[in-house]
């Protein structure tokens, strides 16, 4: 997928002006957070499980070569084929080769973020193969040629009219009289259309939430059942998985299953959790005849041994974005690539370069909410800070910011002057904002006030107030 992350600031401007998006964001925000906290409250051991999850992932990362080799050996024992791919190019070529060998015309797809990362759909289309997204949200986005705006609720920024409009434009056999008054009507139409696709597909491509080393299994977790239809009906099943998805045993997977659905959708367990191990066995009445796993690095191994290694614990639950004030102001598309929100702000610079995605780790209020809900305790704010430092060191920070920071530094090293200057500024701002206590706009600070208000200082600096309160308590 082509990144628009360098244009983060323009993206944000567009998002703030998009009334439909802002409505969807306002509607979803409390429900995401509320569902998670209710589910967590129902499991008293949740906090302890976060520690267990973190520790298992750390153990895996420290022994990743061993677990990947063990897993791959067991896939082969089950008659499956593992395709090791260092880069996106290699992975696209591997998927295409399998599809072409199967003589595929149509390929159904379960939801997979790595597929977005690799741009599988465009590649298949280029070679005359029709990819069909079958997750409802991904399907509508494919019709609208939009990227997902969220890693588990890809189309939540759309409203019912958008769905209807896209169906009327794309489903050419649709009766003009057909009414889409209810969400149910939309669902029924999508289900009917996609059933035809499921039955016609030659190859099914899914992602993987986990790979199990001891059995060579791949695991998908869904609510719709589309991933299962995708991997059960066609002759060939291709799994796309990045290297950090492996866990040692089925018992290890249990811990992550207890964390995942609660953190993601606030369910105790998603509807379908499916373990696939190889192709159809002798005597089986259904299931694919071939089972392939394309296992992809694409920049991840380079994170090992760096301050970003812990990011590889991520289980893609979306809790961090669901609780992020920045995400809920600017929406997912602003981030400009596959992964939005706090996890995207850390991962995207690692995968496409800080020169392209340097704005993302800067878009943080450092409120720390993301880290506090992350089921595997990834220190997201700390890592965003690392990126800022690296960006600054490499002189990638824009000149205005560097100048302002050096002016600030010059004053900060001279306490008397600093106090004088900040006192003057606070007094001036306090005077200007005295009426409402907040600024909706401020000269030179549009980047701040367009998406949020700046609280007006109360006419006094922190130093001055601290000194005054000290005096008051002593007297």
């Amino acid at each position: 997928m082509l990144a628009t992350s360098p244009a983060f600031k323009q993206n944000v401007k567009g998002a703030l002006a998009d009334a439909g998006l802002q409505k969807a964001l306002a509607f979803t925000r409390p429900s995401f957070a509320g569902k998670r906290s209710a589910a967590v409250a129902g499991l008293p051991e949740f906090e302890q499980l976060r520690d267990v999850g973190r520790d298992i992932k750390n153990h895996v990362l420290a022994n990743l070569d061993f677990y990947l080799e063990t897993w791959a050996g067991n896939v082969e024992k089950a008659g499956g084929t593992v395709h090791w791919c260092s880069t996106a190019d290699e992975a696209r070529a591997a998927v295409l080769a399998i599809c072409q060998k199967a003589g595929a015309k149509t390929v159904t797809k379960g939801k997979s973020m790595i597929s977005e990362e690799l741009g599988i759909n465009d590649h298949l289309e280029k070679f005359g193969i029709e990819p069909v997204e079958t997750d409802l949200g991904e399907y509508i986005l494919q019709l609208r040629k939009e990227p997902p705006s969220h890693i588990i609720a890809p189309a939540f920024h759309l409203n019912r009219e958008d769905w209807e409009e896209s169906f009327r434009a794309s489903h050419t056999d649709l009766d003009e009289e057909r009414v889409f008054g209810e969400r149910r009507d939309i669902l029924t139409e999508a289900r009917k259309k996609l059933r035809e696709k499921f039955l016609a597909a030659d190859v099914g491509i899914t992602g993987a939430n986990f790979l199990i080393a001891e059995t060579g299994s791949s695991v998908i977790v869904t609510n719709e059942g589309n991933g299962d239809l995708t991997q059960t009906l066609p002759k060939v099943h291709i799994v796309l998985a990045s290297i950090e998805k492996v866990v040692p045993t089925l018992e290890d997977a249990c811990t992550f299953l207890r964390l995942l659905a609660r953190s993601a959708t606030g369910q105790d367990m998603s509807v379908y959790t499916t373990f696939s191990t190889g192709a159809r066995r002798p005597g089986d009445l259904d299931g694919p005849e071939e089972y392939h796993v394309v296992v992809i690095d694409n920049g991840r191994s380079a994170m090992i041994g760096t301050e970003f290694q812990e990011m590889l614990r991520c289980i893609r639950c979306a809790a961090c974005m669901n609780h992020c004030p920045v995400y809920f102001t600017v929406g997912g598309h602003s981030y400009g690539w596959v992964y939005p929100g706090p996890m995207g702000s850390v991962l995207t610079p690692s995968l496409i370069g800080v020169d392209k995605a340097g704005h993302l780790p800067n878009a943080s209020t450092f409120c720390g909410k993301c880290e506090s809900v992350c089921p595997v305790k990834i220190p997201l704010p700390k890592m965003m800070r690392h990126w800022r430092e690296r960006e600054f060191e490499r002189h990638l920070t824009p000149q205005t910011m560097r100048t302002n920071l050096s002016i600030w530094a010059w004053f900060a090293k001279r306490p008397a002057l600093y106090r004088l200057a900040t006192r003057a500024a606070a007094w001036a701002l306090g005077l200007m904002g005295r009426k409402k206590g907040r600024f909706h706009t401020l000269p030179f600070a549009g980047g701040w006030t367009d998406g949020r208000d700046l609280p007006a200082p109360e006419g006094e600096t922190f130093f001055a107030r601290y000194a005054r309160q000290q005096r008051e308590t002593q007297s």
Partner: protein
């Protein structure tokens, strides 16, 4: 080859070469032992309460349940359910010995088609291998006797489950399959596919609002056969 490139890059990051044999041995021992981690207390209950928790959880997840005393009562329970929901009385059924042992002729109106599901099947009935009380989850391993399509293609899925097969937590269900299943292809215990199913299919992709029956069944009905005297309250 990319395999070596990937493993090499990982090892460079970890600042070591391939693991020495003794460490590999220790990791293999961990795989062999597959230790359990923290198991939530919520399902650590006396048998009757465990079964009750399972049924409650199925219903919480929008499934429905019926409880019968014997396998021979299953046809009546199925017929009743289909009639009550205005569903057709012909259905695809898993060719499983336990289901085949049932005298379906006692309900002559029911028409059974053993085998995998077809796209035209409105109702599919399968055999529950085991179930987990903790979350109300059914465990459905694929086999010639339990085709996967039966879990997915029908608009209504019915699962016949014996109460003795309800366990408290996921790890206990893995214990069952580890002990009972042999896979010819791998020499291990994992069948080609295991589906864990918790309630009927759903989606919240349209305006973040839950709708049942996205691609899989809109209804999930569990017929529980009380074969376990310790499970009856």
């Amino acid at each position: 080859m990319s395999k070596d490139a990937i493993l090499g890059a990982i090892r460079r990051g970890l600042k070591r070469g391939p693991l020495p044999d003794d460490q590999k041995l220790a990791l293999r021992a961990r795989l062999e032992a597959h230790p359990r981690h923290l198991i939530p207390a919520r399902a650590q209950l006396p048998r009757p309460e465990q079964v009750a928790l399972f049924l409650r959880n199925v219903e919480k997840e929008f499934g429905t349940t019926a409880r019968v005393a014997n396998l021979s009562d299953v046809p009546a329970a199925v017929a009743e359910y289909l009639a009550a929901n205005n569903l057709p009385s012909d259905f695809a059924i898993a060719p499983h010995p336990e289901l085949e042992s049932i005298d379906w002729a006692s309900r002559p109106l029911l028409t059974l088609r053993p085998g995998r599901a077809q796209a035209t099947d409105a109702v599919c009935l399968t055999h529950g291998y085991a179930a987990v009380a903790e979350t109300g989850t059914l465990m459905l391993p694929a086999s010639p006797h339990r085709p996967t399509t039966l879990n997915l293609l029908g608009d209504t899925a019915i699962v016949v489950l014996r109460a003795s097969r309800i366990v408290g937590w996921m790890e206990a269900a893995w214990d069952l399959i580890r002990a009972e299943n042999h896979d010819e292809t791998t020499g291990g215990f994992m069948p080609r596919n295991i589906m864990w199913v918790t309630g009927p299919s759903r989606s919240a992709d349209i305006e973040s609002t839950l709708e049942l029956g996205a691609h899989g069944p809109r209804r999930l009905h569990v017929v529980l056969v009380d074969d376990d005297p310790t499970a009856v309250a």
